[in-house]
Assembly symmetry: D2
Homo-oligomer: 366 residues x 4
């Protein structure tokens, strides 16, 4: 199979760079088009990224020579689309939210599917917010979305916020076994890379942490309800439970978001042993269909008392697995545990690629 | 008034050093006796502390010349007691818990009051676990304790664990106004100094955190119930509420424990505005009686969205005030907020000194 | 004596904040005028600093209520000058270097003395670059400078870069005793606060350091030669020695610049013991005349093998003393040692205030 | 070719773990024998390492089931040697230096070659201290060594200290082109992992650095002279130059030692451009003979002004390449640059494996 050429919008930012890195050896996709702000437009990607490359890993063959286009200039993307250099785009745009919303719509309207990391379009009732292990059927919204907008080939799918990635799959695994989740209290300790670059000043992160991340708690509380929602008459109807309360903190760690979760079940309450078994055994469509980006075990259980730890566990499953530890009864609710996910892989670019793999698998990509 | 000479058990450890520092200019107490492990015994404090002094601040006049005694050798302490060099002792011992328990009892039995930071004696029903702003009346247990043990002058009082210091005073302020507290979920991010020295290896704290502190969650859940307890027939009867569940984490910060707290009230639920007013206005016996170590405002409210932060706020009230921020409704319970206290000042040596000031005020010290 | 009212240009930046803090209790000066960028102009200092205050300590009485003026608007400063609210200004401006140069000249031309932290005017041959312990006589340039510019009351003095503060006083002490310094190799490890705020991104400072600070090595190599220079015919003639080579690194530390220094003497080579004595005994005009900001001992010797350390030693002498340790022969040159200074106190605002104290002492301030 | 079974002495320590990790997929060697202190003896490696595993990567097939032996019990190693489970040993022992010296000799005397990371045997005149890119011919000492000790098959080779790894290959490349090196001044900023585990307390590494590492400066100054030495009459005669002076500092970084180097050439002084070319082009025996652990480019040049940086560059060449940057004239000597090597890969276990590959290539291993 020829690799599908994809575009990266926001290619020079931290998430864009991670896309470039992760797609270097991807069997289905290859980077064929890169776009960023008008400031970078016209340079080679090599030159545009010079002095701004934040990652250890390098990029795929040929990417350095690609000309960086202005992401706002749709005509360049359309040319690339017609010339077979950009079948669809990953959106890692970092600009005014309303502008992102409109720009992503414009790409979709022009026939270019958009797989987005941005929060701008997360709340459209016909826009699936996907975690492929959790709600792959929400792709059924794509035909509805196209119809609503009179789009023929384009569409938009989004991924949820990085702060919830470490517990959504475990929660889903429990719901799937018939256990209702009533209420959740979660405190996160989130890595610096989640704030992009330059992001949080070093001055604020030495011998310190910041107990606030703008907008993060609201996203953490609301997005799960859409992901757990059901499609009724061509629109997502959000789940009513679990009720979530989130405390989000920024800590001096490069990558890896930790969540301390306390969970109240409904009347059916599984034992800790049963829960561990459900999690250890969990697999889903990405594993079963063998998506390239899917970790063999989406959930890794750590039995050591002081794990998961960000630096030591974030790369489990090449950054796509969730690591859980300290699984034990809660003194107030029913269960508590500590969850970790790699925020720029599973929580951003890797999650976006997995979404694209799902779309490819379901036939929504050329 | 002549300053009362006090002894420090465990004088060379991190908490012991903080006692030395904080007592340097204390108007009521002065360090007259220092004891540590047999390894340090016989040296001057200057020599024993050389290469082990972990703090920025220095010590009071004369302390460097004090001979370090073996803390296990009660006869040395008794000589010092008789000779007017050690009216009572602060116990900052760091050794086997059962040995601490017995040794502190031996000091008390010998007529030397013990104001302890250790956890060894926290669960005796006749031993007050004191936060002077919260349960100063629990000193009424001292006569009972003496009677129970047939001690004439000695006694033991303890302070609770450092992990709960940032929210006990705020919770007490609410209870005092008649608001029942039903349930609390708390996640802490605790500083390195709480683990003593050498404590947590640097390897585990760069680009990392540790989601586990041995024994800390149990203490956090149980100790508040004793502090909120009542004396019935000469013994503490623990409070039944609030039910607490704690997630305790170690983060790469030198000093300052942060707690993210979610709180469920009983049927009476104060508004956020009312709560802020209660906290801003709160003072208690230490403030009213003018204890030297007491902060003018035990609770400092921070209105900036991203505070309290450990490095910037831990020294509020010379490390004795609690700083609260992010006071807002909880999506699951009623209220949430972020609390900070300096763990080696309010949470350790400073709290111990405030306890001694309470005891002095109440006439329990010579 | 009434405290002299002073102005702070760049009052909301990190160095400006440090001026505000250090002047809170200053016996000779008080903050009477604050200016910043046009963005802050018109607000009270309290409002302008809200959300931007980076320090632990607070500010002096009345400062919060001062109206922030536009630093570019000289007419506001002149009004304040005439009305007795601004006798002279501390310049902590952070803008285009050429603009700073011109603006500082404009203040001087308007009759307002400028005590500057900026590098813009450091190379004027009639502008003294002062470290009061080292070259207090360079103030003799002030009359020359006034004459050159036809200024009647205004003038400009500057302080050198923060990177050299930890070794200039020790080097001077040796020169003063007749020991020539031929060559110096210095590697610095410099704190984050030296880069201002937001400064270095947190992403670059966790599990990392940056082996480059733009322009810092050149300043480190050239400025000492002016400071050690002599006034000949109304202009500084730079010293020819020591020849300096500097490697400057940024490390994840909040405050405190460390320098590892290797030093080659001329033909006269003092012993390590003699050097230690020279340093331990060193005092200069600021100490002898009792300047309020002067540390009692400008040089503190640390005998412990693993000192000085930034967090533990930077506040020596209230941040105004230099701490030296590891004084030993060099395997290649004659002497090596490790030096530490607090970069935002001695190396910035505290150094600026000490310069002003020198100027006051010498009668150059009203 | 069957993989040669090797033993790891000190298998549970930080360097031992790195050996286990790096050998997991090694084409020539496999771990067949693990030994540690008597405390771990008798456990499976899995159990012995539980709770002590410090690395992200895992270990090779079968290693978890290996029984950990007591490294002091030579009879166990001999049995393993005879049974084909341990052809030679990597020594990563962490105990009293004199004990290591004697124990390594005992292994060699018993016929088991020792490839050591320890410093204990570095100064034997018949013991090669190897960097395979620099002094591969020093293996000619092995027959001499055997003869001196009347050993038939055993021998000892050592690798030098991790602190010098980042500049020895670059220096060698210059010497090899005929440029004499007269004097070197080097300041290192060394990672935590170099101190083993638990190593440096976290308390000393937050907002701080330590300007001292015991014994490190002496090693840095003396070991290069042996490596650059020549074999005369069956013994190493140390080189007389370059004269080196080292300042060694511990910084809060997990892995990756940085060195700031200033270098004085002899009369022949290459230009910066020529030096860059020499370094970019440099390869040696390990590259030419295709040793599995050898990086394709032993020296990587970084042209960006602010590199090398530990976190971003330490894994160049899978941790076996040296990264150089900031190559520029020195204001005092001739040349200065910043060098980085991964201290637990190139500087420890990876370097040890490369030494073993050299020995295998030269026929010294079975």
């Amino acid at each position: 199979m020829d690799r599908i050429p994809v575009g990266i919008l926001g290619a020079t930012g931290m998430v864009g760079q991670m896309y470039i890195t992760l797609l270097a050896d991807h069997p289905w996709f290859r980077v064929g088009y890169v776009a960023a702000s008008s400031r970078s437009a016209g340079k080679s990607y090599r030159d545009a990224a010079a002095g701004r490359w934040r990652l250890e890993a390098g990029w795929g063959a040929g990417v350095g020579d690609l000309a960086v286009e202005d992401a706002n200039d749709l005509s360049r993307a359309l040319s690339a689309h017609r010339e077979g250099r950009c079948s669809f785009v990953f959106s890692a745009l970092d600009m005014d939210k309303e502008k992102i919303r409109i720009l992503e719509e414009a790409y979709a309207a022009a026939g270019i599917p958009v797989v987005s990391n941005a929060s701008a379009n997360r709340w459209g009732a016909d826009i699936p917010m996907l975690i492929p292990e959790v709600n792959p059927r929400h792709t059924d919204l794509i035909p509805v979305q196209r119809k609503n907008h009179h789009w023929d080939r384009g569409f938009i799918v989004v991924k949820p916020n990085c702060s919830i990635q470490s517990y959504m799959i475990p929660l889903h695994a429990l719901r799937q076994k018939g256990y209702d989740l009533k209420r959740i209290l979660v405190t996160t300790m989130q890595a610096i890379s989640g704030a992009g670059y330059p992001g949080v000043p070093g001055w604020d992160l030495v011998d310190n942490l910041i107990p606030f991340i703008s907008g993060e708690e609201e996203k953490s509380e609301q997005e799960p309800l859409k992901i757990f929602g059901t499609i009724v008459d061509g629109a997502i109807v959000n789940a009513e439970e679990p009720k979530i309360s989130a405390h989000c903190n920024r800590v001096p760690i490069t990558d890896g978001h930790i969540a301390c979760v306390s969970l109240e079940f409904g009347s059916q309450k599984p034992s800790v042993e049963e829960i561990k078994k459900i999690w250890a055994d969990f697999t889903a469509l990405p594993q079963e269909a063998g998506f390239p980006m899917a970790p063999e075990h989406p959930i890794v259980l750590q039995e050591e008392a002081d794990r998961p730890q960000p630096r030591k566990d974030r790369n489990a499953g090449k950054g796509m697995a969730i690591t859980l530890g300290r699984i034990r009864p809660c003194n107030v609710f029913d269960l508590r545990f500590t969850a970790l996910s790699h925020n720029t892989i599973r929580g951003a670019a890797g999650g976006g690629i997995l979404n694209a793999e799902l779309l490819k698998y379901k036939g929504y990509l050329p």
